[in-house]
């Protein structure tokens, strides 16, 4: 892999990351707070690529010494491509792999983690118990997060939920017995550590929806509890009054 090819790969990588971080696309993969760092590093990558191309097209030949050094560098880079291929480490060849994340971002653009990942992992509620739960905000129905509802239902035994109507957004996944459940993934860093929060649906649950369909459900606290077969954690239920299909939210994770 010569220097021009490296520059093109870096340009593509920087461009792909920049594109993803200037749209909402990066939110499918990482936390919102990473955005400025993504933009900064993407600009740096593009700058390095441009400077490499500029340096290559305008070789420094002001002094004889510099020109010799430059041609020596050229030889070394070529040496990687042809020379010690079999032994040691294949230095720049491994750089070809950097095309894969570029293709992943520009051509494939995979969706946020959904029902498949939710089925693979156990509900992650056990990780965040709070000591006390503040009263719900105003509103009827009051819009709260899936994680918030689940923690209040399990750790607060529904006390702070009372008889209030709550509105939750999540996607449909398949529960242990094939019935639809409501799930939302939570992230702490990137999708590699994404874990699901699962809710059972009692009352009038959404039917006939494909997994990964996003829904808005309105309902009340239910004291019914199931166990997640994956990790034996408790899955609370919601008594559903109504539901409607919605578009995937801009921020797919909680």
């Amino acid at each position: 892999m010569n220097r021009q090819a490296q520059a093109v790969v870096l340009l593509l990588l920087g461009g792909a990351v920049l594109k993803a971080s200037l749209t909402d696309m990066y939110l499918r993969y990482v936390k919102e707070g990473l955005q400025p760092f993504l933009i900064g590093s993407a600009i740096l990558l593009i700058a390095v690529a441009v400077m490499t191309l500029v340096h290559d097209l305008r070789p420094a030949r002001r002094t004889a010494g510099a020109a010799v050094d430059r041609s020596a560098e050229e030889d070394h880079d070529h040496g990687h491509d042809h020379g010690h291929g079999g032994k040691g480490h294949h230095e720049p060849r491994v750089g070809w792999l950097l095309i894969l994340p570029v293709l992943g971002l520009l051509l494939v653009a995979p969706p946020a983690l959904g029902s498949y990942a939710a089925g693979q992992a156990g509900t992650a509620l056990g990780s965040q118990p709070l000591s006390d739960y503040p009263p719900l905000p105003e509103g009827d129905p009051v819009r709260i997060g899936v994680l918030d509802y689940a923690s209040r239902a399990i750790f607060d035994k529904g006390v702070s939920l009372g008889d209030r109507r709550v509105q939750l957004t999540g996607f449909v996944a398949t529960g242990a017995n094939g019935e639809p459940i409501l799930a939302r993934m939570i992230l702490s860093c990137c999708a590699a550590d994404g874990r699901p929060i699962k809710l059972g649906l009692a009352g009038d649950p959404p039917t006939g929806l494909a997994p990964d369909t996003w829904v808005d459900v309105v309902g009340r606290y239910s004291d019914r509890i199931a166990k997640d077969p994956v990790n034996d954690e408790e899955i609370p239920y919601l008594e559903v009054e109504s539901w409607r299909q919605v578009d995937p939210p801009k921020q797919p994770y909680e």
Binding site: A5, V48, H76, G88, P92, S127, A192
Partner: protein, 318 residues
Amino acid sequence: MFGDRIGSVEVLAGLLILLVVFRGPVADAISGPRLQTWTTVFVSVMVQAVPFLVFGVVLSAVIAVFVPRTFWAKALPKHPALAVPVASCAGVILPGCECGAVPIAGSLIRRGVTPAAALAFLLAAPAINPIVLTATAVAFPQNPEMVVGRGVASLIVAMLMGWLWLRLGRADWIRLPHRPDLDGLSKGRAFFSAVRHDVVHAGGFLVLGAMAAACINVLVPERWLQTLADNPILSVLALAVLAVLLSICSEADAFVAASLSQFSLTARLTFLVVGPMVDLKLISMQAGVFGRRFAFRFAPATFAVAVLVAVGVGAVVF
């Protein structure tokens, strides 16, 4: 490898054209839920790591180009055995995850820092920086001793590995990749040349590691872990191995450890101590930056020391 008439740029251009033309079939081929999840995890590991990789590489290029060799001789104690703890504690000032630390450690060795100190820094930096310890405190609100245990155990492992390297390490195991000779170039040229080389090189190995981590993420169902959680010895080993396989960044692993609530606190501490020091993407990057002979000795040794120290510290604090 492609002959002299067809250069890398032409190959690259041809490859990209083919992929754009066959975009539809390529997208269809990975539309199954399992492959799609694999792609999501792979892309997200890369996206998450890119800023840390780039800033780590830039810092290492600054070390290589702008910091004079004499600085390190003055900054670190002369005796290598004393330089190790100093370098370990210096890890506190680098709030990042492990992808950035590898090229920095490579750059330190190039600039004449004793490998033992640079390796201690490599192990300590991702594990004991303030961001990681704060994340641990947030993830374990009921167990503040987890933060202390993690900091202490990680520091001990980093120092032990540094000293172990002084006793047993051999200089010829480390084979830093050939980097274009920076002397004789202007500072600006040398800087961009170093950054370009290191991003392509370390980044390529990061891709390998991210692919491995995505495979584990998709292929190993959490259900398997459940059966191991009840046995005290197996649970420690299971989480230590899981930390290696999952390759989660050190700023997030505390939240994952907290969610593995069926495991003992000692097992989860082991997960937190091993993860930032040995994991698939780190092994891949270390093999790239320091050479395979190094990585295949250093990673297992670090793993063993980290597990033993974590269990020992766990016995004291919990």
